[in-house]
């Protein structure tokens, strides 16, 4: 691992994204549109449903978007031959993965700041905890999405397959993360599964910030679980980067 190579890679990924205005616009605007839509859906509903679901979605967006972007970008590296070229260079596998995580982390912060501002200022989301903590959690979620995306792309041969991994990796976590039904109300085996999945902790952390004025004590353990997942996914993902191929 080498900081110069890691930073060069992060810079290169950001430069590629910058050249693709439409993708950047979609990453930033789509969460706002969805949050606005959700606020509107629950506009006349009693019980502050939006205040419960809104923060959770702020945690789901960066995860889903970065998962998709990363798995496609990595697959492109594989099919274009640039990955093989990089792996014959002094670049370490860690440099490549950390470079991607850094670059998409920057994008995630941008996305989180815009989406949080929109949710609070325009959609009227009521957040009890500190807003900066929302951005931190969004960043960690984005890195989680990047790490799992890197791992998933190792199993995809085509871009069609890579896109299909999104529902396969993400939707089960979404169904079990406590948004549809509180996790303690799930059937026993499903609750046990949701206790292991990382998105559950992302949503928990976001909801803690939404509901409590001083949530740090509850948020940090959740972030710890997500961090473990990130490390495991990056280690497994690095195994899919082979320097020698048949």
């Amino acid at each position: 691992m080498n900081p110069r190579i890691t930073l060069a890679t992060a810079g290169r990924v950001l430069r590629q994204l910058r050249a693709d205005h439409r993708t950047v616009a979609l990453i930033v605007v789509v969460p706002c549109v969805l949050l606005g839509l959700l606020a509107w859906v629950y506009a006349d509903a009693p019980g502050g449903v939006f205040d419960r679901i809104g923060p959770a979605l702020l945690g789901v967006f960066p995860f889903v978007v970065m998962f998709l972007v990363t798995s496609i970008a990595t697959l492109r590296e594989r099919t274009s031959g640039t990955l093989e070229r990089l792996l014959t260079s002094p670049m370490g596998k860690g440099d490549l993965m950390l470079g991607y995580a850094l670059a998409f982390g920057v994008v995630a912060v941008l996305q989180a700041v815009v989406a949080t501002a929109f949710a609070v200022l325009v959609a009227g989301l009521d957040i009890a905890g500190p807003l900066w903590l929302l951005v931190v959690i969004a960043l960690v979620d984005a890195v989680l999405g990047t790490a799992l995306g890197l791992l998933a792309s190792g199993f995809a041969r085509t871009e069609f397959q890579a896109v299909q991994f999104m529902p396969a990796f993400v939707l089960p976590q979404f169904l079990l993360c406590g948004l549809i039904l509180p996790r303690d109300a799930l059937p026993g085996p499903l609750e046990a599964v949701s206790d292991v999945l990382p998105l559950s902790y992302a949503v928990d952390a976001m909801q803690d910030v939404g509901a409590r004025a001083d949530p740090l004590g509850d948020v940090l353990p959740s972030l710890g679980v997500i961090a473990v997942w990130i490390v495991v996914a990056l280690v497994l993902g690095s195994l899919t980067l082979r320097r020698r191929t048949p």
Partner: protein
């Protein structure tokens, strides 16, 4: 010849490679003297690319050994010292030529000025600010070549660098290769254009995974009585076929 060979930059010893159950290289021996331009000629499907991949160390092999600069091919210490140009251009289509070369340069610890010099060497200075996916096929492969040259490696493994180029550009690139050898670099370059043989110090004719001939061009012409490399190659094929009738 520009510089006398003091040692062998590449030593291939009883190399055996299977791809998809097929024996691409049954049992190959080859020495590439340091400081020379060695041309790897022969029909496509003859094992040229597989041999080159083995020299770079990205090919899974099934026997024998490949030693580059005294180290096993693909060793970490060689990643600074060996440059590899894949047959299909492996550059980022959504970045400019300059951004591509600077990125691969930075990975190898090279400066922006060295990147600009590499772009100059492949005659792409006028297109340095153009996105690679807007270039013609020949320009794209030259951009890919610049990403190898920027590292100034001691051994260059170039898989068909002049394919699809006009005669003037081909001559200019061969001048670049000759210049590299004059500075003591070793260049292993493949081609299926036989008239490029005259620019090589040594010629290796490869057919069906076997070395038909490994000599200088004058020696080859002497031995076969042919007037150019193409006819010499045909003579050798006929000779080999008559010796082992199938």
């Amino acid at each position: 010849m520009s510089s006398p060979a003091t040692s062998d930059a590449v030593v291939v010893d009883h190399l055996r490679v299977l791809r998809g159950g097929r024996e691409v290289l049954p049992d190959l021996d080859l020495r590439v003297p340091a400081g020379q331009v060695v041309g790897l000629l022969g029909p496509s499907g003859g094992g040229k690319s597989t041999l080159m991949r083995a020299v770079v160390g990205v090919q899974v092999t099934d026997g024998g050994s490949v030693t580059v600069l005294g180290e096993p091919a693909g060793s970490p210490v060689l990643r600074h010292r060996v440059g590899y140009l894949t047959q299909a251009p492996s550059v980022y289509g959504d970045l400019t030529v300059r951004d591509n070369v600077r990125y691969f340069g930075r990975v190898l610890g090279r400066t922006g000025a060295e990147a600009d010099a590499a772009i100059e060497a492949v005659a792409l200075a006028d297109h340095a600010g153009t996105r690679v996916d807007r270039l013609s096929g020949g320009q794209r492969s030259r951009a890919s070549l610049a990403c190898v040259l920027v590292g100034d490696p001691e051994v260059l493994v170039l898989d068909e660098p002049t394919v699809g180029l006009d005669p003037v550009l081909r001559r200019d690139l061969w001048d670049v290769f000759r210049g590299l050898a004059a500075r003591g670099r070793t260049v292993l370059v493949s081609s299926h254009v036989m008239d490029e043989a005259v620019r090589c110090d040594r010629l290796v004719l490869l057919r069906a995974g076997r070395v038909l001939s490994d000599s200088t061009l004058p020696d080859l012409l002497d031995r076969t009585g042919a007037e150019d490399a193409e006819h010499a190659f045909l003579a050798l094929v006929d000779e080999a076929d008559s010796r082992e009738p199938s």
